[in-house]
Amino acid sequence: MGGSGANIEIKVEDLYIGYGKRVLMEKLDFEIRQGEIFFIMGGSGCGKSTLLKHMIGLLEPMSGDILIRGRSIVKAKDEERMKLMRDFGVTYQGGALFGSLTVAENVAMPLEEYSGLKPAAIAAEVEKKLELVGLKGFGSYMPSELSGGMRKRAGLARALALDPKLLFFDEPSAGLDPVSSAEQDRLIRSLRDDLGTTVVIISHDLDSVFAIGDRIIMLDRDARGIVARGDPRELRDESDNPAVRKFLTRDGLK
């Protein structure tokens, strides 16, 4: 399994996060290993997305550190942080495509900025990425002409443009039909299996967690921290915490 690798991709150390003086999560400590599909779960509004924003360097924590391949994204200065950010891909809940650019231009943007490739090579690469996410032939569409699910997939194509070794997903299956969601899970798994990509996913989707998740952490708003960590299947069947079992079995209905 991908989670068995000893190399640490992300290390979160004694992290305190919150807004203003209000602490949302405290003493967060966890590691994500290279080539692992790692889920961050928790009830609505517990701070999962806020934790993600800290991990990708968009927000500064109150204290603590986040190391990506040994380099701190918290302590990195402006230019250094931007360099660190280029090394990973992020897909956002709504796709976050640039509305004034076509789908192909959106995917081409990181390539134009950083790859140094010629326009023809960029166009070929864009076509390849769009095909990978099932959007072949939609390059000339504007984001507003696409459905929510297609926008999400186009956002994934953009995140994959520079072939990052680390990918973050914010609620990837929200708003997708079951078949598209399963296709996306397969794609995520193949990225990990074929390219060794490390994947961090914020999600509620239990089907995805059990299908592709190697390890999870579960956050809890009242406990202000991690209440469970490990293999999702083991936690579902053997966790000492009834709230965790309840969550992972959809309150006994699964």
Binding site: G57, Y92, M109
Partner: protein, 261 residues
């Protein structure tokens, strides 16, 4: 969003520090105009069209009417002293030094300033700004610079167009409401106005262009993340732009008066 995740209101310190941080970030992004990192020529052309070309008809109309209005008021007063011939001087100075740049700035605020705020505010709601950041691109380079440069080019040019329209409006009234013939009016206008008078207005328009662009963009970046927040951001952009334009006008007029203009 529940209580625990709700962001606190911005403190007074944030309200003072945020505009300065924004100005600093925009200044740091300036070299990307030359390195092309994050800066896109196509965006520049789009804003040149939006802020410049598309504004020409409304600028011509408003400035013509403003010139006509000023001319009518001055004719009524100058007539009392039999000095109607000086109407050309008064209209020329008023339009080139004050009303031309000011009216163009107000039109630009309504057209461009509010659009900048709404556009950036909506991008913030859609997480497009976060996406730019995680692509390692400075949002200021991609979002502020094309707008700023487009305004720096288009507003002075529009001001020149507005000056011509304003003087023409003044002339239309000056000639039709008085006994002053067109040739005399034109001659007086040419004699009264010099290059420096024109440049004062253009200098003002450059300052207004920077003010409107930065106010619009800043209000977009600080807009709250919902539809009402974007609306409030656009309103704030218009109000703050006009406020700072009027302040800049007062300061510049005083400064120019010190050097005899």
């Amino acid at each position: 969003m529940n209580d625990s995740e709700r962001k606190p209101k911005r403190s007074l310190w944030d309200r003072i520090a945020d505009p300065l941080i924004f100005l600093g970030a925009s200044a740091i992004a300036l070299p990307s105009f030359f390195t092309r990192r994050g800066f896109r020529k196509r965006e520049l052309y789009y804003y040149l069209d939006l802020c410049g070309v598309q504004s020409v008809p409304i600028v011509v109309l408003i400035c013509f009417l403003m010139g006509a209005g000023v001319s009518l008021q001055s004719v009524l007063q100058l007539r009392k002293f039999g000095a109607e011939v000086f109407n050309a001087d008064l209209v020329g100075f008023a339009v080139l030094k004050e009303f031309g740049p000011l009216m163009v700035a107000i039109i630009a605020t309504g057209r461009a300033g509010s659009a900048f705020a709404a556009e950036i505010g909506t991008m913030k709601v859609n997480e497009e700004i976060s996406a730019l950041q995680t692509l390692g691109i400075r949002p200021e380079a991609y979002l502020v610079l094309p707008k700023l440069f487009a305004m720096l080019v288009s507003i002075p040019l529009l001001t020149a167009v507005g000056d011509v329209a304003g003087v023409a409006g003044g002339m239309a009234i000056g000639v039709s409401y008085t006994e002053v013939p067109l040739t005399i009016y034109w001659e007086r206008t040419i004699n009264a106005l010099d290059c420096m008078t024109f440049m004062i207005g253009i200098t003002k328009s450059v300052v207004y262009a920077v003010t409107i662009s930065l106010c619009g963009c800043y209000c977009g970046f600080t807009a709250a993340g919902d539809a009402q927040g974007v609306g409030r951001g656009a309103t704030k952009a218009v109000v703050s732009s006009i406020f700072f334009v009027v302040i800049a006008d007062a300061v510049l007029t005083m400064l120019f008066s010190f050097i005899g203009y």
